[in-house]
Symmetry: C2
């Protein structure tokens, strides 16, 4: 398809698409002459990914680039797919305490979750546990285990759904975007559950 059609189908202006092409967030099209290039469904998908990451997840273009690079790197590797989400982990203001890092390892071990040694989620969770402790809201193992068990059940459904995608790169894209897009749903359902459970006699 030509640039105009890509713009119409992605909902992004031609100027925006040209900008994304220039900074490399979207791979170049195939030059058909010196004046125009053709684009494919893969370009459309990539534009939708960038749009979801900026508009819905509120990521900066620098953060989007890291996610996109991770998706590309993980493309054909089933195990690396989880790593595509690493760039979503926030930068930490300070190093987590050794005690919280240890609690995270014990949690992973209790649930037989095998994460890469350098997965940033370990430190993110440990830092969150530190914050809770400072604010006198210590997370007990009982609560953490309940969360972990509940979320594993959900993750199994979500991962199975994207695994049905024929192309590995599409699966990686959908897992990353799905993780972000479903966060508001998850948080709202949690508040609903609190209200419903609180209202019971």
């Amino acid at each position: 398809m030509r640039l105009a059609e890509l713009s119409a189908r992605s909902g992004l202006s031609i100027a925006t698409i040209k900008y994304y092409l220039r900074v490399g967030l979207v791979p170049p099209g195939t030059m058909q002459s010196s004046t125009w290039a053709s684009y494919y469904d893969s370009h459309l998908r990539r534009l939708r990914l960038v749009r979801a990451l900026t508009d819905v997840a509120g990521l900066s273009l620098e953060e989007v680039r890291r996610v996109v690079d991770a998706v590309d790197a993980s493309g054909s590797d089933h195990q690396a797919r989880g790593a595509a989400q690493w760039p979503l982990s926030p930068a930490l203001a300070r190093e987590p305490s050794a005690a919280s890092v240890e609690r995270v390892e014990e949690l992973l071990s209790r649930h037989s979750w095998e994460l890469a040694t350098n997965s940033p989620h370990r430190r993110t969770l440990a830092a969150a546990l530190d914050t809770l402790e400072v604010l006198d809201f210590v997370a007990t193992d009982e609560v953490l285990d309940a969360y972990a068990q509940a979320l594993e059940a959900v993750a199994e459904i979500e991962v199975a759904r994207v695994a049905a995608e024929a192309e590995p790169i599409v699966a990686a894209e959908r897992l990353v975007v799905g993780t972000l897009l479903y966060e508001p749903v998850l948080l709202t359902l949690r508040r609903m559950a609190h209200e419903a459970v609180s209202a019971r006699p």
Copy 2:
């Protein structure tokens, strides 16, 4: 206790506390003379609540005020406790579609969740479903039901924990702050679960 001790124990400067007193986020102390007032544990708790809402949850002072007012209003009423979280629901850019509103009602009905008719979470969830549909990530009932079931199990533990608090106002405070503070834990555990499940052979 005097203002200086309140400052030391809350970790907030005297100037900040005076500002919160002036705008009414914290109730006044008991005047002991024309120059000093005494403060109680309830003041300390309220300051910690305001601090958690601003620093950790990133709320504006206007949003903090709405949460604090809701906590005060819900104080002694078990059923109204869930309503203390209503101010956390974001303002919507547009009205949700009738179809999504209907899907939310069906979901509530399937799980026997009795929410107040005017609970803002209904519209928040419906709007989130609309966004997912526009971006071609339609949330199936299977996924929504898995989330709802998982989160109900967690909410039961969380509500039972705060219900053990002797004072209803403390329970309301802890439920609201706990909801906010545990959101990063929940989202990080979800990403961990995705990585762990993706890595399985």
